[in-house]
Amino acid sequence: MESEQILDRWIPQFRKGLLEFIILLKLQQGNIYGYELAVEIKRLTEIEVAEGTLYPLLNRLKRDGLVTTEWQSVDGGSPRKYYEITPLGVETLVKMKTTWTQTHNSIFNMVMQS
C-alpha cells in the first residue's frame, strides 16, 4: 500500500478522534447551532466528516452534562437549536487542554528527535 493511501486512511481517523475536544473549544468561544458548528469545524480544521455525524457527539456531550441546548426562533428563517457549554464542560475542557498539551509536547519531542 502506498504511503499516501495510508495517510488518507489515518488522517480522518486522527481528526475524528479530536472532534469532541474541538466542539468544546468552539463552544467556549460562544453559543453555536449545529449547522454553524459543522461549517466552522470544516473551515478551521479541514476535517471532512459528514455533517450529521456531529449530532451523536453533541447528544453525548449533552447527556454527560457538558453542554445545554436551547431552541431559538429566527426572523424569516428556521428555528435553531443553540448549544452552550456548562461549567462542567469548561472544567472538562481545561483537563482536555492539559492532556492535549502534554500529548502534543511528548509527540513533538519524539518528532524532533526522529
Binding site: 447551532y33 449530532y55 447528544n59 453525548r60 428563517g77 428556521s78
Partner: protein, 199 residues
C-alpha cells in the same frame, strides 16, 4: 412544517417531504419529545445548509439534494443517536435486556468498568433472588431468611433446624417492596454510571 422551513419550489418541497417522511420513519422507536427534537434539528440543519449554499446557479432542489448529501447517510448519524437514547432510557426504566446490554458494554471498557459491572451485577443478582424468594414464600412459607442463635443468617428455600425464621408473616411483602426499591435504585445507579462512562 412548510411555514417553519419555507421551501419555495414545488420539486424541492417534494424532495423535502420524502426526506422528512424517512426521518419520521427512522425516529419512530423514540419517545415523542426526543423524536420531535431530533427531527426539528436535522430539518433546521438541512434548511440552513440549503439556504447558505446558494451560488446563484443551482436550483433549490439541487441545493437541497447537496445538503442531504453533506449531512451524510441517515444510518451514520441517526442509528448511533437512536440506540444511545433508547439504551439510556430503557436501562433507567429497568428494561432487563437494556440492563444486561449496558452491563455487557460497561464490562468491556476497562478494569475499573469491569469491577463496577461486577458490583452492579451482584446487586442485580441478590435483588432478583430476594424477589423470587419473596414470591415463593407465599406458596411455601419455609422459604425465607433464617437466623441461628449464633448470629449467623441464612437465605434458604427450606426449614432450617435450630434456626428461627425472620418475619414469617411479613417476609413476602417486605421482600417484594424492598427488592423493587433496590431494583429501582440499581437502575438509577446504572443509568448514572452509563452517562459518566461516556466521558
Amino acid at each position: 412544517m412548510t411555514s417553519t422551513f419555507p421551501i419555495k419550489s414545488e420539486t424541492a418541497q417534494q424532495v423535502w417531504n420524502i426526506f422528512d417522511r424517512e426521518l419520521i420513519h427512522k425516529l419512530k422507536p423514540l419517545p415523542e419529545d426526543e423524536r420531535t427534537d431530533i427531527r426539528m434539528e436535522i430539518l433546521s440543519h438541512l434548511f440552513e445548509s440549503t439556504v447558505n449554499n446558494d451560488n446563484g446557479s443551482d436550483t433549490e432542489e439541487i441545493r437541497l439534494i447537496n445538503a442531504i448529501s453533506r449531512l451524510g447517510s441517515p444510518e451514520e448519524y441517526l442509528d448511533p443517536l437512536i440506540s444511545d437514547i433508547l439504551l439510556h432510557q430503557k436501562a433507567s426504566k429497568g428494561h432487563p435486556a437494556a440492563v444486561l446490554q449496558s452491563l455487557r458494554d460497561s464490562a468491556k471498557k476497562s478494569l475499573l468498568h469491569g469491577l463496577m459491572t461486577l458490583v452492579l451485577g451482584m446487586g442485580y443478582f441478590w435483588v432478583i433472588m430476594l424477589f423470587i424468594m419473596s414470591v415463593m414464600h407465599i406458596i411455601n412459607p419455609d422459604v425465607g431468611i433464617w437466623y441461628y442463635p449464633t448470629g449467623e443468617i441464612s437465605l434458604s428455600f427450606s426449614e432450617q433446624p435450630d434456626a428461627m425464621q425472620w418475619q414469617t408473616g411479613w417476609f413476602s411483602l417486605i421482600g417484594i417492596m424492598s427488592s423493587s426499591a433496590a431494583y429501582w435504585g440499581l437502575n438509577k445507579l446504572l443509568s448514572y454510571f452509563i452517562s459518566k462512562s461516556k466521558a
